[in-house]
């Protein structure tokens, strides 16, 4: 089931994706190093797609053990994705919270 993707295409996609990634982050204020790392980490849980594909293909060939392996993989990936995005949001919510009282001084 690899119809849409030739090796040539895949390598181009890899190259362009890498170049895009290199360009996306230029200057990052130190304040954001921690949240950015955590957010990028959540995105790297994109392996959910691979885990899903594995389960579905194993399902088509009726391979129960492989489906179970895929499900474990899916669990790990989703732990990364869901946990990662939520914890990043928790951190960033603290930054955007308006200070309760504005100081009259300064």
């Amino acid at each position: 089931m690899n119809d849409a993707l030739s090796l040539n295409d895949a390598l181009w996609v890899l190259l362009l994706g890498s170049l895009l990634g290199l360009e996306l982050i230029g200057k990052v204020p130190p304040t954001l190093h921690t949240p950015l790392m955590s957010g990028a980490n959540a995105i790297s849980g994109i392996t959910v797609l691979a885990a899903l594909t594995l389960i579905i293909k194993a399902g088509a060939s009726g391979n129960g053990a492989l489906m179970a392996l895929g499900a474990v993989s899916l669990g790990f990936a989703l732990f990364n994705v869901i946990g990662g995005f939520l914890v990043t949001d928790r951190m960033l919510a603290m930054f955007s919270r308006k200070p309760a009282r504005q100081k009259e001084k300064r």
């Binding site: 895949a10 290199l22 982050i25 204020p29 130190p30 995105i43 392996t47 946990g83 914890v87």
Partner: protein
Amino acid sequence: MTAAVVIKYAIELVAVLLLALGIKGLSKVRSARAANQIAAVALALAVLGVLINFLSTSGIDSSAWLWIIGGTLVGGVLGAITSQKVPMTAMPETVALFNGCGGMSSLLVALGVALDPLAGSDGEGTGALVAGISIVVSVFVGAITFSGSVVAMGKLQGWLDTPAWMQSKLRHVINIGLAALSLVAAIALIASGGDQGLWLLVIGSSLLGIGVTLSIGGADMPVVISLLNSYSGVAAAAAGFVVGSQMLIVAGAMVGAAGLILTQVMCNAMNRSLVNVLFGGALGASASAADQGEYQGITSCSAEECALTLETAQRVVFVPGYGLAVAQAQHILREVAELLEAQGIDVAYAIHPVAGRMPGHMNVLLAEADVPYEQLIEMETINPEFPRTDVVIVLGANDVVNPQARNDPSSPLYGMPVLNVEEATTVFVVKRGLSAGYAGIKNILFERPNTSMVFGDAKKVLSGLAQELRELGVGKAKVG
């Protein structure tokens, strides 16, 4: 092209675009939170794309649905709970944990495909070679990411120490040996596709991940986690080759590359080179004997004396550091600051770029304790203000306030940007003892005549200080 294929491509295209926007937005303060949500939507869309693709072609078996739902529930619920329960001080190890699980996921997918090639790409001619290489990369990087992240987490939690032999040159020999083992296993796997090669590769690369990470000091760990984060992107891209998913390749490559840049940015902020972090010993190894000398002429004082000085100050600057984060004293610090503010004293926080347990961590901790964002002042802005500051209180920071970084070219710290706290009228250093900081050298700030040490755990000293200030009547609204 059927309608479903068009829809699938459209969804994937939108997902990639949103993902790029998300990563970009995360590097700006104002857009960061929305960007994180955009990236989450992008991931959901990508999942939808995969499901639509299969539903429109081969269909999805009902037993597969059961496993999908099961895996989703377990992973998702555990992830959600973890993300809400962890304290903000434990952020570095939490990111390490999540990251390790991402690596594990790539590893498992590659294992599955390697054990049952039907599930992966078609294996004919160059196809087989590509499939072999992508499985090797996915297993290798995935295993290193997982074992390395687990070690990083263990070290940050204080569960693991660096064993003595790990600090010697022996570790390089061992790591090179493990790398060679993995390479041999990889070649065997690609050439013959045997299971032995596969398992040897899993074992070799897992041990290599442990071997490389175990010798790295706690303060350098953030850089390692950031690097491992980049690796997990690479592992995802490799898994994309394994299962033949364009979306996965593009997203993995993007995160891998962006993670690499972030690692570099963090290294710069910490004045460390990546090569040094990974292969060099701790900074302390290069410290000369002159740096190690005994302290002379140290003045120390109690919280009471400190409170008396504070009472008469006009402008006070706190310098929170690693020690404050470890002692979890950010809330009591906020309390002390509020007392001083109620007295009409100007309060600010000087934030060194690497304050806390990783870059940017101190901002998160102080934000959690409700410290107004505009009181957190970055190094470049606050440095010229120290001469007109009455009292500086250094809380569990050491190397980032060492004047040697500016004055002494022979110091290992030389060149690192530091906070010039010694220019203030009075400096209090709250510290548990006179032990050296991460760089392993003496801090000449402590010997300055205008410096007083307040010995003790940051949290205890600050609670004592708050009590003394209240007894002095500081913070009760005064007229005039």
